[in-house]
Chain length 548, copies 2
């Protein structure tokens, strides 16, 4: 990689033009660099480690200058540089032993297709800069709409490509999808009425005055995603008005409590704007009772949003889709194709049961998004957007329902296998069982298990907490060292299990979406954690003291 | 492309695993498909047409099914299909004769780098899924911050990699950047105060009550981008509270009028929350008087945001950066690298002069974004995000300041050349002169020019309008046919020039950012438009009648 595309170190106009020109020959310099890059990427992806640990402060040193370099650099030099300092210090999200987050391996065919997508550089905000990508995106939204709501054929014939209607919206991710859904819910509830021209025009303070409400509230499980907090902040409702409802022992929202809370709010003059069901909580992977939530939303005459950003892909499994039963009664559903649908980062979606729903946020402009146009940008939060829908389209077509059936089922069953492994192990405790493919657990040495059981039986909450504090410190230490060793990676979080009287405990969190994660890898993860625990002699001594 | 990666038409687990595995050999089936795709993409990009016209309804037929296919498909089949039905029907945004929108050619080196970025599949929301990409993104934000605000070296040493501080935020695009800036402005203005816990917690209605204001307003030029309307809608302020101020003959906001409007609002108990300067209006490309706006913002003690989504790249030109003088006094600045910085779609940014500004929207979660972490996601509107910053980093390094100097200067000077060409032509009228590289014009046959001059001299506004209506119809027809012929593409918009007493006229809109657009192409565009005009005999007859 010492060659360069015949450009002098000082830019000249002619050489600059050349970088915008498609290289003619496959054996051109850029062609060779490209092949080298592909080989290096393949090498990185084939590496079996989860992460190479280097202190962040060391890495930061390489990214410290804020001066944009004066002279141009050769592509080959730049590539050498980022291979050494960026790629080598990246996280192996595709590694089969990286099981701590929702980012997994990608099917390899999306890589050349991504290059195609980027090269075409379409802008989905309007047809003039996207043409066939617009109907393609609408088709993908239609497919996911059909997957969720399963409406009849003539419904889709009528609405799929209809101007001024949307079956959904593509977004950069689940956060924007959730914000979009709640924005629409707010604007539909506070719509124009008599002399009042709607919240969209007159704003929230006047809207509440017009409708005679003290406040608007959103009800959601205490396990709701933090993006909902951002949404109510943005929308001017205030974070205090997102009312979190306790979950039952299975980490599912307690609908009776939610109903009682709604009644209390009503008595205070606070209008419930929306209830949100979580289909796959981020921390435990559980699915709220969506049927019951749909009933409650009907009673309250409010918007019913389901945040299935992570769990929604389960609908692709005929075997397990009933876990999400009731989702088809939602007004809006968030789903991220870049989670369990194996699409690269940046493919969020929100789907609307009613294709007219999004007209509550419709907007136009002179030079684009003219009324009656099919420009996708007139009903989206974002403006200019890339053609990510193509990658979702490709995965749906190439993997197909049969392929997804296997992938989703395997993930769920692998999680059940891992749960069994944890439960059978004398030194681990399964804290939340997998409903989908996410579970939490922790390392609990036998002596601590016995002491905990006894303390719980005696109702000695002080002792339970003392033991849990010792275990929390141990969990944090094991997770940190395991991450630093780089052989495998699990994440950690803090939850309040019913068993421990709702006190906060620190747990390992595992998401089993990578098809390449084997049972052996899962066994190895536990073995490694046992070893690491044994090395934490000081923390073990503290724990033992708490158990006595 | 009849081969496939040895997968049967029915998915089996083993074959499915294979699609997640990096192809070992360069001559593997997927390797060959990838080479074919690269050749096809090169063919598409080398094609000199701007767009192939096919009725959208025909294209939609191919994207009509909402059934996710049952059986998997071979990658090769899928690629053949999308080359024929998607790529062939895409818009040639990279074509040198596609001069109608802000999407331009890309330097070819971003394509292999995009594949690398997608393959690494980092998630920038947190360090655990991005590692070195986090300091890289902070460095890019630092570079753009330095480009705009030019703070001293120790400022960047202190803040560039500081946890709980941000010099800016990467976003999917300028819309999210503008929303983020105004969200921060609102939350800083309505911050916690005594018993009041801030708008973020208590919501907008209580915030206004606490501070004793009737409403909040945002002041911006009538040429402000439509995303600002979305922002005030989302934020609960209401679109009525975005107060648009008239522009002068140069399409720059009239600061005296803005000041008068602010005084009027104050008298009504309405607090000006922010004023927005536009640095490159979408429709005419003009830059507001940013110095004067900075003075006004200081007088009003309000947030000063500059929307430089499109024009901000001009700062990379030492020769022309003074056109944006005053931008360094902004509290926040939006800039899209995917416009004039030649980065692919999806690279928006908002920069903050004060690194503590974004703490107004800070949020945390248990499993990520812990307090004190350097996770980028704690101060961004979006959650999971791809590593687009890498492509900005690559362009800044490989093109360098010397390269951008040439690119930006050439664009601006090409626009001046085209403006001269239009002005020298007897049958065209330059409607808005290029300040950056965007201009508007229209076709006006000599007889209509004479009639318009006479009508204006006589102050006969009825006749002026009648002639303009004829010209509007002609402009629309020419633009549509030119787009359909596909040789070249200009966009069209409607503006209210001072010369025509603020009546709305339809104009061609041209953005000259593609380095490959030659003077010859610009001459050809005008020649083609003359020819097309000559063919519009019926519209010409109508126009002639209006001129008599």
């Amino acid at each position: 990689m010492t060659q360069h595309h015949s450009r002098k170190a000082t830019a000249s106009e002619a050489t600059l033009m050349r970088i915008f020109t498609v290289p003619e020959a496959a054996d051109s310099t850029l062609g060779r660099i490209e092949q080298q890059l592909s080989r290096d990427l393949a090498g990185f992806l084939n590496d079996s480690i989860a992460a190479l640990e280097k202190p962040l402060s060391d890495i930061e040193e390489h990214f410290a200058s804020v001066q944009i370099p004066k002279a141009p650099r050769f592509v080959s030099d730049y590539v050498d540089d980022i291979m050494a300092h960026l790629v080598a210090q990246s996280v192996h999200t595709a590694s089969p032993s990286f099981i701590g987050h929702m980012t997994s391996a990608l099917p390899y065919f999306v890589l050349p297709l991504s290059k195609l997508m980027v090269g075409l550089n379409q802008n989905l905000v309007k047809i003039e800069t996207s043409k066939a990508f617009t109907p393609l995106e609408r088709q993908v939204l239609g497919m996911i709409h059909h997957l969720i709501f399963g409406r009849e054929a003539d419904f889709y014939e009528q609405w799929l490509h209809s101007a001024n209607h949307s079956l959904g919206a593509f977004c950069s991710g689940g956060t924007v999808a959730n914000i979009t859904a709640l924005w629409i819910a707010r604007n539909n509830l506070l719509k124009a009425d008599g002399n009042f021209r709607g919240v969209s025009r007159e704003g929230l303070p006047r809207a509440l005055k017009h409708y005679g409400w003290q406040d608007l509230a959103i009800l959601v499980s205490e396990r709701g995603h933090y993006s909902l907090g951002k949404a109510v902040d943005l929308l001017g409702l205030g974070r205090d008005n997102i009312i979190t409802i306790a979950t039952d022992a299975d980490n599912k929202v307690d609908v009776a409590k939610m109903r009682a809370e709604a009644a209390r709010l009503k008595a205070e003059g606070i209008r419930v704007m929306a209830i949100v069901g979580v289909a796959g909580t981020t921390e435990t992977g559980n699915v709220d009772p969506l049927e019951q939530l749909a009933d409650l939303a009907k009673e309250l005459d409010c918007h019913f949003h389901v945040d299935a950003a992570w769990g929604g892909a389960t609908l692709l499994s005929a075997k397990y889709r009933s876990l999400l039963k009731g989702i088809e009664r939602a007004d809006s559903v968030t789903i991220d194709a870049h989670k369990q649908m194996y699409v690269p980062m940046g493919a969020g979606m929100v789907l609307f049961r009613n294709p007219a729903l999004a007209s509550a946020i419709e907007h136009h402009a002179e030079y684009i998004l003219r009324r009656g146009s099919k420009d996708l940008g007139s009903q989206t939060l974002e403006g200019s957007r890339p053609g990510m829908a193509m990658l979702v389209h490709a995965c749906l077509q190439i993997i197909g329902r049969e392929g997804y059936e296997i992938l989703i089922n395997n993930s769920l069953e692998k999680a059940r296998y891992f749960a069994d492994l944890i439960e059978a192990h004398p030194e681990f405790e399964l804290v939340s069982a997998p409903e989908l493919c996410l579970l939490t657990y922790r390392y609990v040495p036998s002596f601590a298990k016995a002491a905990l059981d006894q303390a719980l039986a005696e109702g000695n909450s002080g002792r339970v907490n003392a033991i849990n504090e010792g275990l929390n410190a141990l969990t944090r230490a094991i997770q940190k060292t395991q991450r630093e060793q780089g052989k495998s990676f699990v994440s950690r979080t803090r939850i309040q299990p019913a068993r421990y009287l709702r006190e906060t405990v620190t747990v390992f969190r595992v998401v089993l979406a990578n098809p390449l994660t084997t049972e052996q890898i899962l066994q190895d993860v536990l073995a490694e954690q046992c070893e690491l625990a044994a090395g934490e002699t000081s923390l073990l001594a503290d724990l033992r003291a708490a158990c006595e």
